[in-house]
Amino acid sequence: MSDPGIVFLFPAFASDYKDNLSLSIPGYAELFKVFLTRASDSTDSDLTSFDPDSHNFLENELKNQYIAYIQSCTCASILRSKEVKPGIQAYYSMGIYAALFNSGSVTFETGLDLIKSAFTVIRNILQDESFSMCSIIGLNIDDIRHLILLTDQDTEVSNQNGEFSFILSGRLSSLKQIISQAKEEGAIHTGLFAVKVPYHSQFLRETQSGFSEFIGNIRISDPETPILSSLDQILLTTSGQIKSELIRNLYNPFNWYKTHMKLSELGFRIFIECSPVPSLIKIARFIPGEVKYLTPLSAIGSPLFSDTQ
């Protein structure tokens, strides 16, 4: 039975594995290996050499996305097997694919196909690799917009994580210029992401037709557990909504801050990040609201769920 107060959160791909909790989660290593083998077979990509300690997949965006997906699916499956089930799911950026698998909308293999197709369609439309993403913390939205205006305006705010925390996507040269300017303006933190794709920006608008065609040919079911859209914070309950969300997710900005606030407003109080590498928990520090954040490990060991195990 699902708990109306629990949210499963699905992060995007990892930027490092230094806080990897995987070895501490009971049953994780075994199930992860099963999923990893299935993924290797399904994608024709050697994923079995994945080694979190050597960070060997961080430079490969596609493999990194596969790994994040497999990790999330592993964590969520273990939680469900322990009768820790969500009343709703939310996804951060490309975490949508794991959310879909764990809501029963797609099979594990179809989730991998979606990742590969999106990546291929993106690569086909981007003429070069002069794009990236960056984070700026400590400035407000007006400051950020002002900085964008000072450049060639080939960057966009692609996500808001908090009142003073933003992600930008666009041309690498302009992002570097904005980062430099942001430091002078008093940003507490700036960072360029190790990606070459400007996710959630209009630069990817042309993916619409190619990705739509792919999505039209795969099976997507209504989700068993509703998913909250990170794009416009509406509940996704039908396959039609899911298909539309998948397409729009590539080239539309999302708003994690509003998504988080909406979840609180809906009455959800226990947020479990389905990943062995906590990242959304860190972001949540700056989002107001009385919610409890748990890792899979702490959720399994939590007395909150002791009567269900």
Binding site: I137, G138, F164, E184, E185, G186, I188, H189, I283, F286
Partner: protein
């Protein structure tokens, strides 16, 4: 401008020590003023930001984050002791922090 006394300094120190002990999952007794926030505690700028918010609420401070950011660029913090010193200045001078540069 708030007047800083030994009580406030001890209070700030206690908050900073407790904060990093909890966030970085280390024994509070292992932290000293010489502890390096990044190298020794694996801390990050998000923690710095969170700490600022804690002090803004506790002391009802009127200071913009970017004022602190501008100050921090010229006076980078690496140890717990330096962080406490900066927090003391923030509490004392609030939005006039940058006037210390003049």
């Amino acid at each position: 401008m708030a007047r800083i006394n030994d009580y406030t300094r001890n209070e700030v120190k206690n908050i900073v020590y407790s904060f990093f002990a909890e966030e970085c999952e280390v024994d509070k007794g292992q932290i000293t003023d010489q502890t390096n926030i990044i190298k020794d505690l694996d801390g990050d700028s998000l923690m710095f930001l969170e700490l600022i918010e804690i002090f803004k609420k506790k002391y009802n401070l009127e200071i913009e984050l970017k004022t602190i950011g501008k100050y921090a660029v010229k006076h980078p913090v690496s140890t717990i002791g330096q962080l406490i010193d900066m927090q003391m200045l923030i509490i004392e001078h609030e939005n006039r922090l940058l006037e210390l540069e003049k």
